[in-house]
Subunit: 170 residues, 2 copies
Amino acid sequence: MSDGRQTSAVRGDTLLFLTDEQLRQGSEAMFFAYRGFTADPDRILADLTYGRAHHRAIHFIGRAPGTTVNNLLNILGVTKQSLNRVLRTLISDGLVESRVGRNDKRERHLHLTDEGRALEQKLSDAQRARLRAAFREAGPEAVAGFRTVLEAMMDPEMRASYAKLRETGQ
Amino acid sequence: MSDGRQTSAVRGDTLLFLTDEQLRQGSEAMFFAYRGFTADPDRILADLTYGRAHHRAIHFIGRAPGTTVNNLLNILGVTKQSLNRVLRTLISDGLVESRVGRNDKRERHLHLTDEGRALEQKLSDAQRARLRAAFREAGPEAVAGFRTVLEAMMDPEMRASYAKLRETGQ
DNA sequence: CTTGGAGTGTCAACAAGGCTGACATAAACT
DNA sequence: AGTTTATGTCAGCCTTGTTGACACTCCAAG
């Protein structure tokens, strides 16, 4: 039951009316979509001994090879104990390699091995397939809007991490 | 390092080029944005004895008052044991009321109590504030695109649940 | 009226993946 | 020489997901 509450804001010359109902629909869209977003990799991981946390680590190491543990901690937003549990298994399973830093020997630089890269491919192929289908279905303007809104939803530090990854990736 | 792979598709009269790099950025946007999306309610819940699972239950009960346990199970996509653990605490804490069905007495219809509604308000106010800010910042066309893409990312059953909630809510 | 199935609740055990706190080591910095 | 930084690790706890088993009530169909 909508109680008719709404909020308005001026952006440029555009007046926005955002009812609570519209915002609630936005929340629910995020919830259901995120489930879809993780579903395919999760299915693959279920067979292995790994979980979503391993996927995230592998993804970001693959994305920024040579990243340090601290850097990864910032991106993932978990404690070092949580991350270490994941990294330890990935390293001992030979998916990730940890190299002592040249300049700063305290740092560990993380890289995917060939095997690690293979799993990364497999997982992100599954995820990208869904994203690709959704992007095609929605069209380019919708995709642009999608990214704009998502970026605006991030915490500032996350937005910074996101921007940094975009630079290095492109 | 982008390897230049890309995929094309025709939608209507629009040709879409989707590089793996673009799709990866989409994934990362989802990841970072979802973190922002849950951050505010999580902070509130941390003080109470509740977690994100309680939030979800409260949200959907508030959204569809009188919903049955089975219905909620379908929406949330967890096992009845998981849901029951959450519902049990919410009911015994007086936030949720479970009423025996009139027609079918096997069913339990779930409702928020006044106290439950108060918490629901508090949590979704926090979440909506961020969403509202993001929607304002991004503008109406972006919001439309955002929802289109999210909807396209959902599993079909989830899209059905989502659509159903939209009907009853509006 | 009986019987099968549906809707719900619950116990037990387990796993993933968060968390805190404490401590250890090596390397860098001052 | 002393402090800080980067990392690793142990121990224990919590939430929230899982499977499997069992019980109870109630509806519906034969």
